[in-house]
């Protein structure tokens, strides 16, 4: 039994035309037993900056709370909103501090740069190795399935509505091939002037 698949999760973030989208499943389970279908795995860290945390449920919550702590202090001291790239370094630092007793999460970051509104996605491993891509990032117990879905469906410069369709199909079909992830999904579409949240109608098994 791997600790990273104790609770089960699915996370994906994609870049579109002047927008980003991030989606997650909603299942909270303890191995085979599903306990909740309303477990949040995506957290807001700024007006156009979100982090998705797949992995061990307790660490999902702890890392999100500790990150909020650091981001709040950053914004008070610097008197500005944190940029996605800087935030990524902050997450990486937080995780590497626990190099020999890590948090069991594989963060996925999605956001827009504050001034230019350039889309940004990144992911990292549980000890904070960052990876920035130009297309999409995935995480969770069905990451292999997600890679397959994203690679086939994604194309560059998708408008927000098309990006929503693409990311929704990617996550819905990937979690259907994973016993531990699923039970509902939520998608955030982040544009420069608004963030839309949509809950997907999914197979509840």
């Amino acid at each position: 039994m791997s600790i990273m698949s104790y609770n089960g999760s699915a996370l994906v973030a994609m870049i579109g035309k002047d927008c980003v989208a991030i989606a997650s499943d909603k299942r909270f389970g303890i191995q085979g037993q599903t306990v909740s279908m309303e477990f949040p795995k995506i957290f807001e860290m700024g007006p156009q900056l979100y982090i998705g945390l797949p992995g061990l449920a307790t660490d999902i919550q702890t890392v999100a709370q500790r990150l909020t702590f650091r981001v709040n202090l950053y914004e008070l001291r610097e008197n500005k909103r944190i940029r996605p790239k800087t935030f990524m370094s902050m997450v990486s630092n937080l995780l590497y501090e626990r190099r020999f007793g890590p948090y069991f999460v594989d963060p996925v970051i999605a956001g827009l740069e504050p001034v230019t509104h350039k889309p940004f996605v990144a992911s990292m491993d549980l000890i904070g190795c960052p990876m920035v891509t130009e297309d999409f990032v995935v995480g969770g117990t069905c990451s292999e399935q997600l890679y397959g879905m994203c690679e086939s469906l994604w194309e560059p410069n998708l408008e927000p509505d098309d990006l929503f369709e693409t990311i929704s199909q990617s996550i819905l079909n990937a979690v259907d091939r994973d016993a531990l992830a699923g039970w509902g999904a939520v998608v955030y579409i982040i544009e420069k002037d608004k963030v839309t949240t949509k809950t997907l109608k999914a197979r509840m098994d």
Binding site: Q65, R66, T68, F69, N72, L73, L76, R77, N79
Partner: protein, 256 residues
């Protein structure tokens, strides 16, 4: 006589005084004035800006007023470097509490926790006390709008209106007359703040670049902390001067 008993903070004088703490208070009484007023629908902090040198780069948004978290704001008077250390600590106190309890820290607790830290420097360690007095304005779900003051001794108190820094005693006696308990709205508080500051400031004429004013109010379920723009401060000053002119005219009429 006092010389023998004031070189270390950790000892009392024969009269039972802590000289280092009193000297710290003396340092603060030369610093720029800060006043705070509690209103029915919000809190006001107004302070004197002393760093108006032409060559100073305006990187800092605000000279003396600092946000501590979404519901708390403070204004400092005294040694700026000491103040920076304390403001940082206040922010950490608030965030640590939020991390642990996942809900905003009650206002009094922030003040009380920092004052416990300040008190340590008056009793052990051989270090001098912080030369800063702080005015805090905040809102919490337990007691609503609140105004607190803390000083180098580690003492703190909740106030309806108070003042620290230069000419603070004169300001407090003015506030005692002008502040109406239970009847002051935010706009009244702003007017009183400008009136008191214009009397206590060193310079002859009050202008918007010599003071900064911040307000804390509630909108829906969020707290709004705002530093007034130069234009808004100008408006307040104009209204104050118009009111002064009106009172002068009335007095002149009565004399006739």
């Amino acid at each position: 006589m006092a010389r023998r008993y004031d070189t270390r903070t950790t000892i009392f004088s024969p009269e039972g005084r802590l000289y280092q703490v009193e000297y710290a208070l003396e340092a603060i009484s030369h610093a720029g004035t800060c006043l705070g007023i509690l209103a029915e629908d919000g809190v006001v902090l107004a302070s004197e800006r002393r760093n108006t040198h032409k060559l100073l780069d305006d990187v800092n948004f605000s000279e003396k007023i600092y946000k501590l978290n979404d519901d708390l704001c403070c204004s400092v008077a005294g040694i700026t470097s000491d103040a920076n250390v304390l403001v940082n600590e206040l922010r950490m106190i608030a965030q640590r509490n939020y991390l642990q309890y996942q809900e905003p820290i009650p206002c009094e607790q922030v003040v009380s926790t920092l004052c416990d830290i300040k008190q340590v420097y008056t009793q052990i360690g051989g270090k001098r006390p912080f030369g800063v007095s702080i005015l805090y304005m905040g809102w919490d779900k337990h007691y609503g709008f609140q105004l607190y003051q803390s000083d180098p001794s580690g003492n703190y108190g909740g106030w309806k209106a108070t003042c620290i820094g230069n000419n603070s005693q004169a300001a407090i006696s003015m506030l005692k007359q002008d502040y109406k308990i239970g009847e002051t709205s935010l706009n009244d508080a702003l007017a009183v703040a400008v009136k008191v500051l214009s009397k206590t400031l060193d310079m002859t004429k009050l202008t918007s670049d010599k003071i900064e004013v911040a307000t804390l109010t509630r909108e829906g379920d969020r707290t709004k902390i705002r530093i007034l723009t130069t234009k808004e401060v100008d408006e307040l000053i104009q209204r104050h001067e118009a009111e002064q002119a009106r009172l002068e005219a009335e007095k002149a009429k009565e004399k006739k």
